[in-house]
């Protein structure tokens, strides 16, 4: 392996990428493979499969982003987890260490939510400036990179106990599109990664490397080219620009807390949907008093988190849902757009399991007494599923700067969120269906569980055709700043029903192609 590159702070020929998760990690590698010099700055530390722990709270302590954030709005998370609006990772590899691996393409119509659903009161629906046909080849590349099962000739994973209960109930209800999913988890050895051993701690980092994460694939491969330098414990504080309005570099706090300045030819922001807008807002200047790339006033707006919730159920006999892949199967029948159900857009149902410690924390946050504990007494006899559906973008669901400061004295993100009536109608429909599925298999009790702190964070730097409607263009390039890009889920114009990461990865591969071409043509 070639020695990883080291670039000078004064080297203004590099692309600086902020964050090394699903978006930033992939962009870094893709650019490095094309010969572009990249400095990737990551706020967290480096952890590899040998470091991951099969223990929920210990792993949380190792990987989770626990720097302060504040919350407002009427979502229950603001009450139960007021300082933890999202459950995401701060480490090289970002939340791709945590993720379950569900890798679904958007349905074709979901790229055109406004045209398909029509205007929805209170929602800021918009069509993406790109469509399914344009994205298809990038999805192909993303699926090949991640080794997604059920496509490209790769076999699906075997179903575990949790899946078998779910499948039986689903078929009893007449659902047809039911299977073990399209997962970025190897069902057989693939791309130097081994097959899943069904250990069941997918959220805590896959110790076998069977699940794709940029931490141990794209990052080291990018480094091996000699074109990528990853600096960990490097927290970017602000993006700098010159008098012409082009960005010139970033300031960051290094591992010793010292402020450094890295020059750049291009800056790409991929800090996940709270930190990316926070960074743009914190980068305000006399030229950009409302924050960088924010002439539209759209930075931070339209925060989406998917309409989620879980349904757990207890049975007469053991299920042992924790055994095997955490997200072991899917029902897709409800993902269609069918307003006769009382809402626009659709949702997926996917199996999910939590270990006992997390179940105690998330089953009914704040709940206590026998109603709560008798459910946990039946933990071994429990099955579980997660709802993930398209939520409505709303202008006031947004990330703003809070008055709270982090340890560097930087204003932290405040996350304001309230459900749209469409979200509530969808969740209630999904709760009903989820409970019916389990009752069809003899559930003795069903538990419609409220949403967890957000795992899917989208939309706060939305992509738009017209500069006044959003923050970035069809390539993720800021409408206002020609050499500034957004490379994570915050670009999402609308959320679709599908888990977002395959789309984040496909967009990052596509964006790398665009940036490399623009650099070669001398346009940035």
């Amino acid at each position: 392996m070639a020695k990883a590159a080291k670039f000078e702070l004064t080297d203004d020929s590099v692309v600086v990428i902020v964050g090394t998760g699903a978006g930033g990690g992939v962009l870094a590698n893709e650019l490095a493979q094309k010969g572009v010099k990249v400095v990737a700055l990551e706020a967290g530390g480096r952890y590899l499969p040998e470091d991951y722990v099969n223990d929920e709270w210990e792993s949380f302590g190792q990987l989770a982003w626990v720097d302060p954030r504040t919350t407002s709005g009427d979502w229950r998370v603001a009450k139960d987890f007021s300082g933890l609006p999202a459950w995401i990772v701060k480490a090289v590899g970002g939340t791709s260490i945590h993720w379950a691996g569900a890798s679904l393409r958007f349905q074709d119509h979901e790229w055109k939510a406004l045209s398909t659903y029509g205007p929805v009161e209170g929602a800021s629906l918009l069509d993406w400036p790109i469509d399914a046909a344009e994205m298809a080849p990038w999805y192909d590349k993303a699926e090949a990179k991640l080794g997604v099962t059920g496509v490209g000739g790769r076999a699906r994973l075997p179903g575990n106990n949790n899946y078998k209960v779910f499948e039986k109930g689903a078929l009893a209800l007449g659902y047809k599109d039911v299977h073990t999913g399209n997962m970025a988890i190897n069902s057989a050895d693939y791309d130097d990664r081994m097959a899943c051993q069904q250990t069941g701690f997918c959220f805590q980092g896959c110790k076998w490397g069977a699940k794709w994460s940029s931490a141990y694939t794209d990052i080291p491969r990018g480094e091996a080219t000699g074109n990528l330098e990853v600096r960990d414990h490097a927290h970017v504080a602000r993006i700098l620009h010159d008098d012409s309005g082009k960005v010139t570099g970033v300031e960051y706090f290094d591992k010793d807390g010292n402020l450094q300045m890295q020059k750049a030819r291009v800056v790409a922001v991929a800090g996940n949907s709270f930190e990316s807008p926070r960074l743009l807002l914190n980068s305000h200047s006399s030229m950009f008093p409302d924050g960088l790339a924010n002439s539209s006033g759209q930075v931070g707006r339209n925060y989406m988190r998917h309409t989620t919730g879980s349904v757990y159920a207890t049975f007469e006999q053991p299920v042992k849902m924790w055994r095997g892949t955490t997200m072991a199967g899917i029902i897709r029948d409800e993902a269609r757009h069918d307003p006769s159900r009382g809402f626009v857009g659709g949702y997926e149902l996917e199996t999910l399991s939590l270990g006992l410690p997390f179940m105690a924390a998330f089953l009914d946050p704040g709940g206590w007494g026998r109603e709560f504990t008798t459910a946990l007494d039946s933990y071994a006899n429990m099955a579980g599923m997660w709802i993930v559906g398209e939520d409505m973008p709303q202008a006031d669901n947004r990330v703003t700067l809070s008055n709270t400061e982090d340890k560097f004295g930087l204003k932290v993100a405040n996350v304001n969120f309230s459900d749209h009536p469409n979200d509530v109608a969808m969740r209630n429909h999904a709760y009903k269906q989820g409970q019916a599925i389990y009752k069809a298999v003899g559930a003795t009790r069903t538990l419609p569980t409220p949403p967890y702190p957000s795992t899917h964070n989208l939309g706060t730097n939305r992509m738009s055709e017209r500069p006044e409607d959003g923050v970035v263009d069809r390539n993720g390039r800021a409408h206002d700043v020609p050499n500034l890009f957004v490379s994570d889920g915050s670009q999402f114009t609308t959320g679709a029903a599908e888990n977002p990461t395959l789309t984040i990865v496909a967009l990052a591969i596509r964006q790398a192609d665009h940036i490399a071409k623009e650099m070669a043509a001398g346009n940035v």
Partner: protein
């Protein structure tokens, strides 16, 4: 019934005085212990009464009949420090006061869980209650030793996962 209630002399209350003392014994200065001496907690900063009350409170918040007192004792042991002394003293005093209003000598004197839970409901929005409850979520359920009682198997990597150990062994469907 109404008259008796006002005087704090419900049948349950009368019974409870006899019952409550049996569950925990103050085992010499600075200790509380199970009557069968299966476990004991040393009390240093807070009083035995406070520790015994916290223990009962923990059981009533997250009652699991197959989980022994010793696990709850571990979960609340961290309150027995000087920094928590004032918070605990005030919280338990308020809890005992709420118990008096409900017609019991104190919280521990209420012998039925239902009665104690009603007392807890009356204080459930206080910071004291929320602190104790919140602390138990990890203090109790993150004790590896209680996991087997719930059937949870914990770490599995060192055993090669469940690929050959029953990830799909369900046989009753």
């Amino acid at each position: 019934m109404t008259r008796l209630n006002k005087q704090g002399l419900t049948r349950r209350a009368l019974l409870s005085r006899a019952v409550a003392a049996g569950a925990l014994a103050v085992a010499g200065p600075g200790f509380i212990a199970a009557t069968d001496a299966a476990w004991a907690v040393e009390v240093t900063a807070i009083s035995e009464h406070e520790m015994a009350t916290l223990l009962q409170m923990a059981r009533d918040i997250y009652p699991h009949d197959r989980v022994g007192d010793r696990f709850y004792a571990v979960a609340i042991k961290s309150y027995d420090v000087t920094e928590q002394k004032e918070m605990v003293a005030e919280g338990i005093a308020a809890l005992d006061e709420a118990a008096k209003k409900a017609g019991f000598d104190n919280y521990l004197a209420a012998g039925w869980e239902d009665d104690r839970v009603a007392i807890l409901r009356s204080i459930q929005d206080t910071p004291f209650f929320q602190t104790v409850r919140g602390g138990l979520v990890t203090g109790l359920y993150n004790q590896k030793d209680i996991w087997p009682i719930f059937g949870y198997e914990g770490e599995s990597f060192s055993q090669g996962g469940y690929i050959d150990r029953g990830f799909d062994d369900i046989d009753w469907l």
